[in-house]
């Protein structure tokens, strides 16, 4: 592998610009005015250098819905979005509830090679919430995160067993917190907006009651719990309490729950339909503060591509979910960096370091230092760009951010010293 020199970068957006020399996949030198020699030079003056992003929550749709996304196209979207590792959710068809599917996803990710694709294993067989999947066999195949995402492990006894069992596997159980009895037929956040529009409500308590229960189960079992896509102010309150008690709980928030709210429902355009639903503007504010404070640990995209016909239809027939990999960093800049809630070191924490820690992922979210893996992302903090769904790398093109101008752009992504994306183009392995 040829050496690389990143010219004029600011690690964590701090201090004077420096040059970073990368050799054999590792950071070899960090100092100003490095002699590049015969190394490839990336001119990156004024760009912010961050550890490569890690997404704990991605739907790559392969196997099963390759018409909306594949491991190849999703990996491209991830690399272009600054990601170096993604966790592929288990709700594929067939479900990733066994070592065979899990190993397939892992192998396809390696073949594509743009990003480390880590399969998430299902907690229960077929995501049906009835019987534990073979967690141990999947753990032996390398799985460290288990989730029935899309469905809640709502049976309290089953959740207790999953948490208990996972403690022997050095794994974390990531819960999609939604009490199904409280969300029968639910279409949108239960609030003033949905009530006027006649959309059946998805009440905040359906999330909060499960999060509270699961925190108590985590305390009871000593297991590690991760809460997916926190969407309500009340959940943040419960997490604050649980962390104060020393309970081993971590949590993620999606970019869309930081930026968008239920004002979006007017017009009934299902590009805004997502589960959990867009909440109120007051919730987004609390979630931003909770993320800044560390009550919510990290940002995860819940990247969920859907075909045009599953979105360009009546609201109740539409599938929930939206693209996220290529817009995550800009949304974090818009909601957290520009208002002064996070500095770039904070961005490194919520997009890279904490998710890598939660998943127990070595080699990602590492400090930017000599001898560390060159798994890095370069961001142009001054760039502004307009989102066009058709220009994103995913097969699905519908996005609620269509036509929005967002700040901050990922320019270059490096995975163990190799450029995977640069100026809007992915670079396949040679």
């Amino acid at each position: 592998m040829t050496a690389l020199v990143l010219r004029g970068v600011r690690p964590y957006g701090e201090g004077d610009p420096v040059d970073v020399r990368i050799e054999d996949g590792l950071v070899a030198a960090i100092e100003p005015g490095l002699d590049a020699g015969d190394a490839e030079v990336v001119e990156a003056h004024g760009q912010v250098l961050l550890p490569g992003f890690v997404d704990l929550h991605t739907h790559l749709r392969e196997p099963g819905r390759e018409d909306t996304e594949t491991i190849a196209t999703g990996s491209a979207a991830a690399a272009l979005g600054g990601y170096t590792a993604v966790f592929a959710m288990a709700n594929t068809d067939p479900v990733a509830d066994n070592a065979v599917v899990v190993e397939h996803v892992w192998r396809r990710g390696r073949e594509v090679g743009l990003v480390d694709v880590h399969p998430v294993g299902a907690v229960t067989v077929g995501l049906r919430g009835e019987k534990l999947a073979e967690l141990g066999t999947m753990a032996a195949a390398g799985v460290r995160v288990f989730s029935d995402d899309g469905h809640c492990v709502h049976d309290p006894l089953l959740m207790r067993r999953a948490l208990e069992y996972s403690t022997a596997l050095d794994a974390v159980v990531a819960q999609h917190a939604e009490e199904p009895r409280l969300t029968v037929g639910a279409q949108a956040h239960e609030g003033e907006r949905a009530a006027r529009l006649g959309l059946a409500g998805w009440p905040a308590v359906a999330e909060e009651s499960i999060v509270a229960r699961d925190c108590l189960l985590a305390r009871q079992t000593g297991a590690r719990l991760h809460v997916c896509h926190v969407s309500t102010a009340g959940t943040a309150e419960i997490l604050r309490w649980a962390k104060g008690q020393g309970i081993e709980v971590s949590a993620e928030v999606t970019p869309h729950h930081l930026l968008l709210d239920d004002d979006r429902l007017a017009g009934y355009d299902p590009v805004n339909k997502v589960n959990p639903p867009l909440r109120t503007a007051a919730d987004t504010k609390v979630l931003r503060d909770a993320l800044a404070e560390g009550v919510v640990d990290c940002v995860a995209t819940d990247h969920a591509p859907h075909a045009a016909q599953d979105k360009d239809c009546e609201w109740s027939a539409a599938r929930p979910g939206m693209l996220g990999l290529q817009t995550a960093l800009p949304v974090v800049v818009a909601t957290m960096v520009e208002p002064g809630l996070l500095d770039w070191r904070g961005v490194a924490r919520v997009l890279s370091e904490r998710p890598a820690e939660i998943a127990g992922l070595p080699g990602h979210g590492r400090p930017i230092a000599v001898g560390e893996p060159a798994t890095l992302t370069l961001v142009d903090p001054a760039a502004r760009w307009t989102v066009r769904g058709a220009e994103l790398a995913s097969i699905a093109a519908n996005t609620p951010y269509e036509g929005m101008e967002l700040p901050g752009r990922v320019v270059t992504t490096l995975l163990r010293g190799r450029i995977t994306a640069h100026e809007g183009m992915v670079r396949e392995r040679e």
């Binding site: 003033e192 529009l197 006649g198 959309l199 009440p203 009934y268 239809c313 009546e314 027939a317």
Partner: protein
């Protein structure tokens, strides 16, 4: 007016113009042996009903026919993609085939809004004939027409809407239209059948029907759907009927001039006593008759741009 999708956002002038036209049409047709006006000759109106309905579909069909429009009825079962052709494709097909107006009833809230979006380019008008639990604007207009006839004016009147407000598109449309026209609206229902944050609606809320009766100019009873009775929204049909049913005793507690409305179909003995439904105070058949005139007026305002009414 390009579409009629909701009464939310419909201004008082437009609503009054539709009501005035309906009244005019009623007088024009009064006593005529041949109930046919040439106004919409050559216009094609398609009704698309994705939910079972007799009264609304027939009312629209008669309205179109009395205006000399060509009326075509499409009934569809199943509503979502995967069960057959998508709503969007069906709509685009009808527009391409030459429909000037699509009247849609659909179980999904917002379906009429979506249709209007897809049909903007084709120039086809959309009338919402009931979308999920969202709105049913022509029902509210026909209720308003009936109240104007019975009470003279709507402004300043106190009108109760009683029953399952949470799931009622009729209630939502009436709240918006009646308040726009200057009425005071009071919603009477158990807390389980009221929408979230109803306190932010321009209405008052009560859980006690008896307390409201003496101050009302009109009472609008909503149908209690069977699935609600078994859905745990209230303990039993009997208890509901005792607390919220319009009995003969309650009819007597209303002021002399007060009107009883029901959008139908009625559950006699449940939300309304049979004797009340059949009393002179009830305007239920008058509502049905006005429905035709109001829908004629709506079609007129959407489709007959320059022509005279008659």
């Amino acid at each position: 007016m390009k579409h009629l999708l909701a009464t939310d956002g419909l201004d008082a002038d437009t609503a009054t113009a539709v009501l005035d036209t309906a009244e005019e049409l009623k007088h024009v047709l009064l006593g005529r042996e041949v109930k046919k006006l040439p106004t919409l000759r050559g216009r094609t109106v398609v009704t698309m009903f994705y939910e079972a309905s007799t009264r609304t579909r027939v009312s629209f069909e008669i309205a179109g026919k009395w205006m000399s429009a060509d009326v075509i009825n499409v009934s569809a079962s199943g509503s979502s993609v995967g069960k057959g052709e998508s709503l969007r494709d069906t709509a685009l097909t009808l527009a391409a085939a030459g429909a000037d107006c699509v009247i849609v009833r659909h179980p999904a809230s917002g379906a009429a809004h979506r249709l209007a979006g897809w049909l903007t380019e084709a120039g086809t008008s959309v009338v919402n004939a009931g979308d999920g639990t969202h709105e049913h604007p022509t029902q509210a207009l026909l209720d308003a027409a009936t109240l104007r006839e019975r009470l003279g004016d709507i402004a300043g009147r106190r009108i109760a809407i009683v029953g399952d407000v949470l799931h009622s598109r009729v209630a939502r449309s009436n709240v918006h239209l009646l308040t726009t026209l200057g009425a005071e609206v009071v919603l009477v229902a158990p807390p389980t059948l009221l929408p979230a944050h109803v306190d932010r609606w321009p209405v008052t809320v009560s859980h006690t029907l008896d307390a409201e009766l003496p101050g009302l100019d009109a009472v609008m009873m909503l149908r209690v759907q069977a699935e609600r009775m078994h859905g745990g929204f209230f303990p039993s049909a009997r208890e509901y009927s005792i607390a919220y049913g319009l009995s003969e005793a309650r009819l007597r507690a209303l002021p002399e001039h007060a009107v009883v409305l029901h959008p139908g179909p009625m559950l006699r003995g449940m939300e309304i006593a049979s004797a009340v439904a059949d009393s002179q105070r009830a305007a239920i058949t008058q509502q049905v008759a006005n429905g035709v005139h109001v829908r004629m007026a709506v079609l007129y305002h959407l489709l007959a741009h320059e022509e005279e009414v008659a």
